[in-house]
Symmetry: C2
Subunit: 208 residues, 2 copies
Amino acid sequence: MTPPAANPDRALREAQDRFIAVWGQMAGAWGISRTMAEVHALLYVTGEALNTDDVMERLQISRGNASMSLRALVDWHIISKVTRRGDRKEYFEAEQDVWTLFRAIVRERLNREVDPLLANLHEIRDMTARHDGPREKTQAGASTEDARRIAEHNKRLDEMVEFFEMLAGLSTQFVSPSGKGLRLAASLLTKLPDLPRGKGERLRETGS
Amino acid sequence: MTPPAANPDRALREAQDRFIAVWGQMAGAWGISRTMAEVHALLYVTGEALNTDDVMERLQISRGNASMSLRALVDWHIISKVTRRGDRKEYFEAEQDVWTLFRAIVRERLNREVDPLLANLHEIRDMTARHDGPREKTQAGASTEDARRIAEHNKRLDEMVEFFEMLAGLSTQFVSPSGKGLRLAASLLTKLPDLPRGKGERLRETGS
DNA sequence: CCGTGTTTTCATATTTTTCTGAAACGTTCA
DNA sequence: TGAACGTTTCAGAAAAATATGAAAACACGG
């Protein structure tokens, strides 16, 4: 499956290609398209600044596709445009620090996915806000039963909102200033086995 | 866009539908298909145990689709099969604790995505292992230049491997025993502003 | 304001993913 | 064993996501 590869150049090229393929498969995990991931992989793994034609050629994709993908990656802030004096072409290079890369991805997904989700959850929660207390019997029927079901519904939503707010807050820490939160995460790993529960700090209890 | 909804039942139903829609949009983020997410949302938001026909009807999907989705969700361990005495139908109910749900998802993605990725990265790293040191000039050409490029390549891969090993380790903590790691994460949030950097702590360890 | 080299756009084509529905397959109970 | 019920499978249909490529839009230098 992996022929020894005679000379260094060949080995390097093969390793790069394989990295690109593997990274491409992770596309789903990053929430980007396969090709985008491959373009990023190429830029990352070569460490060079490449132009659209380089990318087209190496990845065998169309100009339009390359252009779109590169732009999207720039929007994601994980590659950046580089211009060379005396050369009208635009070059692109990938962020080389893995942590920075990861931070950018988390930040972006936070903005694109978690924030909107939270907004929606809040709205949804409000839809049944007025109905939950032991209020008047809005209709004839079993208002008590209704109230119970709605109360449970609201509890579920509240828990979910709380959870995602926690997640968003945590991610923001991870992401913001200079990524110090991340280092923390790493250090956690090494000293976690016996975790330092700060104080009484129960965060809920969610009895099913 | 959101009519006040006269009676409680109606409000509840609308809130549920909207939750299902919103959750369905997050499907990509969880790495599952839209319908799967909707089915899960339905089970979660109603809090009831439903059978295939209930799901088909409420979501307006085919039997095959419902069956597939339910099974996949069971495989993901985020819903479970429930059998009722004296009823031949199979019912399904969703895990109601958000943290448990999240843990299940993380665990699953760890197994399905991160672990294979790490295996691949290691293999890829090995492809250029023999070429990196200031070794013999395998071929005629500029072996020094080759060596430099390969050394850089290896450095990039090593960093990436290290990163994902950290991530895998961290996630495992998050996920494993009884989710104690998660509680920790939450508490972090509340006391992070001034983070407790342990020591010089360069993350490393992880030797393959 | 042209000419040349480059990038962007976008309608159309292609590929991939997801869904459907009906047949095949189990199970249980008389 | 076989009728009644229920679940799973899967080939083909439908839908969604991606890619292509040629034309339009840009950007300069002259």
